[in-house]
């Protein structure tokens, strides 16, 4: 309290006045100005888009829930789910194969990833669709030996199977690398511990390694899912009636190109927004063990306080 000569560095005023609790924040004028300008530009942009006749908003409204559009939407969603599911399962197998010490498994996986990541998805889809021109029949048998069963390729490869095969195999190549990265991110000691406890490799993967790898697998997988939704629009080139193909079939008739594309764009944005929300929930689930503070902790601290002798009894 007493004013000593050593206190010269402090501004005038005693300790209570210098308490940072009473400090004033200066008004952030620069930031307020930035907000005002940005909002003005955004409002003008929204107003001009809404009032531009050429966007044809009444057509957008009219066709937004059109049965053709909705069935196309279902096809796009269905393709996404099926291709993604196959892609993740196959990607996991590829990732494990690529990490395995077995040379055959790891080189086969590398070859698969090299090929399907290295060629455009559009080309892969067209190849699958036109498989019958390369291989008129598909058969099961012994290489260079007799065949047991065989099918006409055209009866096996419909636009649907070509689309699923093309999207899923391509996705598997990308997912394999994402999952491999996730598995490698887990501390080696974890696998060793699982081994020391006598876990089989598959159980160690399932119970110990994959749950920990998920934290680094989920975010890029969310990206892949969103890419996949949009990649399904490529199947319109092989006459698969997805969302894009449906709006195209309508504007080929009505010539309302921009409004119909807007219908598709808005649907794509709606789906990806929903997926973003789901992703953030999944990420929170897999990082639950990271949170130092939380309900569990608070309750346990109380419990610890009730039995203070526990620790001291050591």
């Amino acid at each position: 309290m007493s004013k000593k000569s050593g206190d010269i560095a402090s501004p005038s005023g005693d300790a209570a006045e210098r308490d940072v609790v009473n400090a004033h924040k200066p008004v952030p004028t620069g930031r307020v100005a930035a907000w005002v300008v940005t909002l003005a530009i955004a409002a003008y942009f929204a107003w001009s888009v809404a009032n531009n006749e050429n966007f044809g908003w009444h057509v957008v409204g009219q066709y937004f829930f059109d049965p053709v559009v909705i069935s196309g939407l279902y096809v796009s969603l269905g393709l996404t789910v099926v291709a993604m599911a196959f892609g993740i399962v196959l990607g996991l197998l590829l990732a494990v194969a690529r990490l395995s010490k077995d040379r055959l498994a790891s080189s086969l996986a590398s070859l698969f990833i090299w090929f399907f990541r290295g060629t455009p998805l559009l080309v892969q889809l067209i190849f699958w669709y036109n498989l019958s021109t390369l291989f008129p029949t598909l058969s099961i048998g012994i290489p260079f030996g007799p065949t047991f069963v065989s099918w006409d390729t055209n009866s096996v490869i419909s636009p649907m199977t070509a689309a699923i095969a093309g999207l899923a195999l391509n996705e598997a190549a990308y997912m394999a690398e994402i999952i491999r990265g996730g598995l490698l991110s887990v501390d080696r000691g974890q696998f060793e511990t699982a081994e020391a406890f006598g876990m089989t490799r598959s159980r160690a993967l399932r119970r110990i390694i994959i749950p920990q790898a998920m934290r680094s697998i989920v975010p890029p997988t969310g990206n892949q899912l969103i890419s996949m939704i949009k990649a399904t629009s490529l199947v319109s080139v092989i006459a698969m009636a997805d969302l894009l193909y449906s709006v195209q079939s309508i504007y080929n008739r009505t010539f309302e190109v921009v409004p119909m594309l807007l219908v598709a764009v808005i649907w794509y944005l709606l789906i990806t927004s929903v997926l973003n929300i789901c992703q953030s929930y999944i990420e929170r689930y897999y990082s639950r063990s990271d949170r130092r503070t939380g309900t569990v902790k608070a309750i346990k601290e109380d419990a610890a306080a009730l039995v203070p002798a526990q620790e001291a009894g050591q």
Partner: protein
């Protein structure tokens, strides 16, 4: 009767050699550990003591010699007079009798303390969840952590994590416990609580092989102290002899640093 049982060692290592690439880490280790015996392995860094411990449950495959635990050769079996390598699955079965505690604790970070402990009993040993949970709570109580059952490892101190790791290893009712420098990653003030837990186990007749730098623990809790240097056992015997009156110059110079 009792003397007869004690004649059969639980662990029998013969002429164990281990090399990494061109570096020979173990140069012929012979060691028998009797049931209920507490063996503490001392030695300078790089003497091969941790590697030897990891060979006992086949985390490292040995290059020469043999290791038997509870009458079974680890990693191999005899088939019509020929020694055959075991499959990964069969090795996993052999490991289920051996508990291990690691320097870095290695608790499963995505599971609570309780889940860490019941993982192996429920998932591997086929215990019912309720029985395993009761047992796990008793073990947590024994290591003085019954209030921390639902905490994740990240919410525990290093000493608490290591005590949970000890409880986790005990939960599989092991015939043999391996401790790989269990206190080396701990802050000095947390070492005591882990050593107290281990001393408690040693007094209850658990067979333990402990690799450590804690001379005090070796002196108080060990039945036998083994001193390793340069991939060989240079001296072994009762703690009061090896620590109190070391014969070999390497042992003497190593121990002199702790006094």
């Amino acid at each position: 009767m009792n003397a007869l049982v004690n004649l059969t060692p639980l662990v029998r290592a013969r002429n164990v050699h281990k090399s990494f690439e061109h570096l020979e880490v173990l140069k012929g280790i012979d060691l028998d550990v009797a049931p209920g015996e507490v063996v503490v392995i001392l030695g300078p860094s790089g003497s091969g003591k941790s590697t030897f411990l990891r060979c006992i449950n086949h985390l490292e495959a040995i290059n020469r010699g043999s290791i038997e635990v509870d009458g079974e050769q680890i990693g191999y079996r005899m088939n019509r007079g020929r020694l055959v390598q075991l499959s990964n699955h069969a090795i996993a079965l052999q490991r289920r009798k051996i508990g291990m505690v690691f320097q870095q604790f290695n608790l499963y970070p995505h599971m609570t303390a309780l889940q860490n402990i019941i993982e192996a009993p429920v998932g591997i040993h086929g215990e019912s969840r309720s029985q395993a949970t009761d047992n796990a709570r008793a073990l947590l109580d024994r290591v003085g952590l019954s209030a921390k059952a639902d905490n994740y490892p990240r919410q525990l101190s290093g000493g608490q994590q290591q005590r949970v790791a000890i409880a986790r290893a005990l939960a599989i009712k092991p015939k043999l416990m391996l401790f790989d420098e269990p206190t080396s990653a701990l802050d000095p003030e947390l070492v005591g609580e882990v050593l107290a837990t281990m001393r408690d186990l040693a007094s209850q007749g658990l067979t333990m092989i402990v690799v450590t730098h804690e001379i005090g623990f070796a002196r108080e809790a060990a039945d036998r102290v083994v001193f390793m240097d340069g991939g060989k056992i240079v001296e072994q015997g009762k703690p009061e002899d090896v620590i109190g009156n070391p014969q070999h110059p390497r042992t003497r110079s190593f121990l002199s640093r702790f006094i």
